[in-house]
């Protein structure tokens, strides 16, 4: 989990060439293979890495990234500048697709249609700048500093795609406890990332 500082940010850095927002605008405006190609080159490694972490299967991870890029160009016009960075937006789509694929492999559990409901896309991200510069070491420290139960609950939800009921089943905790653990854990992480100190 530890990594060389900000490897993901390096992947997304692009000191030359059009901005991410400009590329997305071009996609939204009409057919523009070059724009999609550039966005792919910038973010494929982060998206694929995230999808691999969730699906733990190269074929499924590729499906997730492929579906995610369909989501990107189909919804390019819906991207709201200022609500989140393009990187954040694209990673949230990749996450959603990977989770969807993982859940499809479990019986009777599907996510709603991406186009009609996606909290990751509709929840305003007030941290677009922060998210751009966060490095893995800081996030890891914030996560490791959480109480074990909170950390497990967040990881089960985010990286394994478990729902609250499934998390409750897996951990043996009541539903109300799962709700609290996830919410409080995320809030503690936020505070830790804001202050640069591990949660106490």
């Amino acid at each position: 989990m530890s990594g060389p500082g900000n490897a993901d940010a390096a992947d997304g850095e692009h000191s030359s060439g059009p901005s991410d927002e400009a590329l997305l605008e071009r996609l939204a405006a009409g057919a523009d293979e070059g724009a999609l190609s550039d966005l792919y080159d910038r973010y494929q490694a982060q998206m694929y890495g995230l999808a691999m972490r969730i699906t733990r299967d190269p074929a499924l991870a590729q499906d997730a990234v492929q579906e995610a890029f369909v989501g990107v160009w189909r919804n390019a016009a819906r991207y709201a500048v200022g609500r989140s960075s393009v990187r954040t937006w694209m990673l949230s789509i990749a996450h959603h697709r990977a989770i969807d694929i993982v859940r499809r492999r479990r019986p009777a559990d599907t996510l709603p249609e991406f186009e009609t409901a996606d909290p990751a896309l509709t929840t305003p991200d007030v941290w677009p700048e922060v998210a751009q510069i966060l490095d893995r070491a800081a996030v890891t420290a914030a996560m490791v500093g959480l109480p074990r139960a909170q950390r497990d609950a967040i990881q089960l939800a985010y990286f394994e795609g478990l729902t609250q009921v499934e998390i409750a089943d897996r951990t043996g905790a009541p539903l109300g406890t799962v709700k609290s653990r996830v919410r409080l854990g995320l809030l503690q992480m936020r505070r830790a990332l804001e202050t640069g100190e591990a949660p106490s």
């Binding site: 982060q46 972490r53 590729q62 492929q66 579906e67 922060v130 609250q164 109300g176 990332l193």
Partner: protein
């Protein structure tokens, strides 16, 4: 519908932003957020952490082949100019109107008192549902363009169905068809579509060929190409009176006359 209080919604904020709510519960939260006058800043607070979680996953270079698939999806579905535009060329497909994908056969001019229309609409609805939902079983690439393609076909077929003096047929299969089904819709000028789903792959060296049947006289309507999931669509263009549309298995390349019994057939019915 059960409603949710602010406190209850807030309690679910973390699970909501992590996509970890059951669909029904998430719907309640969505409904609450859509109508509540409170700002619910906590959703933004916890939501802001989610992008950070993504950084915990080590970047991994995707296989080179993946980019080619992504770009192919885009060419297929984003309206990139095609060298040879065709009525149902995948490359010519623009994203279909959502109403077409989601609406259960809204047929303008439908006359409920006409049994044939009712039967036809029910059959078409079944096919529509099947066609749209079948897409979930596919890989991303095929799903992306297939959804758009199929929705467009259905939109045009439905348009024909609702046009005056159109003809339609529900295709029924023989045992060989192995569950395949579909319909034909032809406008008054003789132009239309044959849409089939769940068609098994043709045996090696053989191909599916469609026929217009007038009395006992068949005339070739053309060869079908199967897409993922056994979906096939054929542009129809017929002249004169036709009683049925049928499908046979023929040697690859097709036949001048059918060499086997139909595995699917449907009687064309006229509509006002």
């Amino acid at each position: 519908m059960t409603t949710m209080t602010c406190a209850e919604a807030t309690e679910l904020a973390g699970l909501y932003v992590l996509d970890a709510l059951e669909p029904a519960e998430r719907a309640l939260v969505d409904a609450h957020l859509a109508t509540c006058t409170e700002a619910h800043a906590e959703f933004m607070e916890v939501g802001g952490v989610v992008p950070a979680l993504a950084t915990l996953a080590e970047p991994v270079a995707a296989p080179d082949s993946l980019k080619a698939k992504v770009m192919a999806d885009y060419r297929a579905g984003a309206g990139v100019a095609a060298p040879q535009p065709a009525p149902f060329s995948r490359r010519s497909v623009i994203r279909p109107p959502a109403s077409v994908v989601q609406a259960p056969v809204p047929v303008p001019g439908l006359r409920p008192s006409r049994p044939s229309w009712l039967g036809w609409a029910a059959a078409a609805a079944a096919v529509l549902l099947l066609v749209v939902t079948a897409g979930w079983a596919y890989t991303a690439q095929s799903r992306a363009d297939a959804e758009a393609h199929r929705a467009q076909v259905l939109a045009q077929a439905i348009n024909i169905m609702s046009s005056p003096r159109s003809l339609s047929a529900v295709m029924h299969g023989a045992a060989q068809a192995d569950g395949a089904r579909g319909f034909a819709a032809i406008d008054r000028s003789g132009v239309g579509y044959l849409v089939l789903v769940d068609l098994p792959a043709a045996p090696a060296g053989q191909a599916y060929q469609a026929w217009y049947i007038t009395g006992n006289q068949p005339t070739s309507a053309g060869l079908l190409s199967l897409e993922d999931g056994g979906f096939a669509v054929l542009n129809l263009s017929m002249q004169g009176t036709v009683d049925q549309v049928a499908l046979t298995l023929e040697p690859a390349g097709g036949s001048a006359q059918p060499t086997s019994n139909p595995i699917l057939s449907g009687e064309l019915t006229a509509h006002a």
